[in-house]
Symmetry: C2
Subunit: 230 residues, 2 copies
């Protein structure tokens, strides 16, 4: 389930503040979800808490990390060291949450050789050699949209089976390869939609706005703050 990482983060917070056990309601609050949903998610894990007491924080962390495959520190290849790629290369959230950026690549010869956070940027053509040394299963694409598909093909060719794509385009990959897409502009556009809806609702509180302003069969958006699918 896609909510597990959120639970995991909340659990780490709780562990740091000294909690040894946590009730489903407490954890649900910390993760921003319904407590019944959380219990159902955790029950699917097969892991069990203790009735009357709650869940053992340490044990639950172990379980979730195991299910997420975080017991091994996974090597990630980052392609595209532009504006965004630069920030990603320096983002310590990856290192602290189970991942190791193993190599940086770019197609621009002007960027090759640059050192970021202790890692040297290599040319994308060196990808096969690097992949032969390190077992890289996850690739991150932070290139312009025009280059993304080609990079994806190259990643797949060297055995990458999971791709995190920041380029605003749809990638086509063979079956068995997972792609997750993060489009920052789309996130803002969704917020803009909410803004627009709110504005027209206050303007025409009874009608819900014109047929074009708000959608005919009124989109009622409940629980926000959840940007996770699949």
């Amino acid at each position: 389930m896609a909510r597990l990482p959120e639970y995991l983060r909340a659990l780490h917070n709780l562990a740091e503040t000294g909690h040894e056990t946590i009730s489903s309601e407490g954890l649900a609050n910390a993760a921003g979800v319904n407590s019944a949903k959380l219990r159902k998610d955790l029950s699917q894990l097969g892991s069990y808490g203790t009735r009357g007491v709650g869940y053992d924080v340490g044990l639950l962390i172990e379980q979730i990390e195991y299910v997420l495959g975080l017991t091994q520190r996974r090597a990630v290849a980052l392609v595209g060291v532009g504006n965004l790629g630069h920030a990603l290369a320096g983002y310590d959230g990856f290192a602290t949450r189970g991942f190791r950026i193993a190599a940086l690549f770019d197609a621009d010869p002007g960027r090759v050789g640059e050192e970021i956070n202790g890692l040297v940027v290599r040319h994308i053509d060196e990808l096969p050699q690097v992949a032969a040394d390190e077992s890289i299963a996850i690739g991150v694409i932070a290139t312009p949209a025009a280059a993304a598909q080609q990079v994806a093909d190259q990643l797949v060719a060297v055995g990458v089976t999971s791709i995190l794509n920041f380029a605003p385009c749809v990638l086509s990959v063979p079956p068995g390869v997972d792609v997750r897409k993060v489009d920052l502009a789309i996130e803002l556009q969704i917020l803009s939609f909410h803004e627009h809806r709110k504005a027209s609702l206050t303007a025409f509180p009874t009608t819900g706005g014109s047929a074009l302003t708000a959608l005919p069969n009124g989109f009622v958006v409940t629980e926000s703050q959840e940007a996770i699918g699949t």
Copy 2:
């Protein structure tokens, strides 16, 4: 609907390549969704294509932009000019897709005064004055998790009603304020989960892996490449 921005991007691509009309199936392919789903989404818009022909690309772009509230260029305030915030401030995808970064803020005096992409970083305490000048409805939080809640409160206090949160924590905001969260590490962890699942499936193809490796009532994940909710 949260898929509209994706359609919009695909439509812009089509417009640039000279298409004047597009069938639901063609657009569905470009956006990476099912054609029936796309038709249903568009029919809810109230906008109509022409049977036997398809949708008018230009008209559809107008309609979607209107529904998303992109007819006005929205002003965005970005708080936190660290690693990630720096990249966001320079990300031209915002400017080209309907948004204008109106102001940059940070709490670190050492960063105040720095100029990024033509904008000067101001101290977070100046937020009320800036908000008085410009009508800012959307805020982006790119601070460390420890500061995020406080920043969110400050944003809400000056009238921001939509927040895009990059900090790995849950924000609590009053009703009427929308929050979308993007956690880069979580995206990778979800991919890691897929990796783990794939690895155990190939190891034990018949059983689907041990009860802990893969989930008991096997998660079959279809259609990936969709990271949008709400």
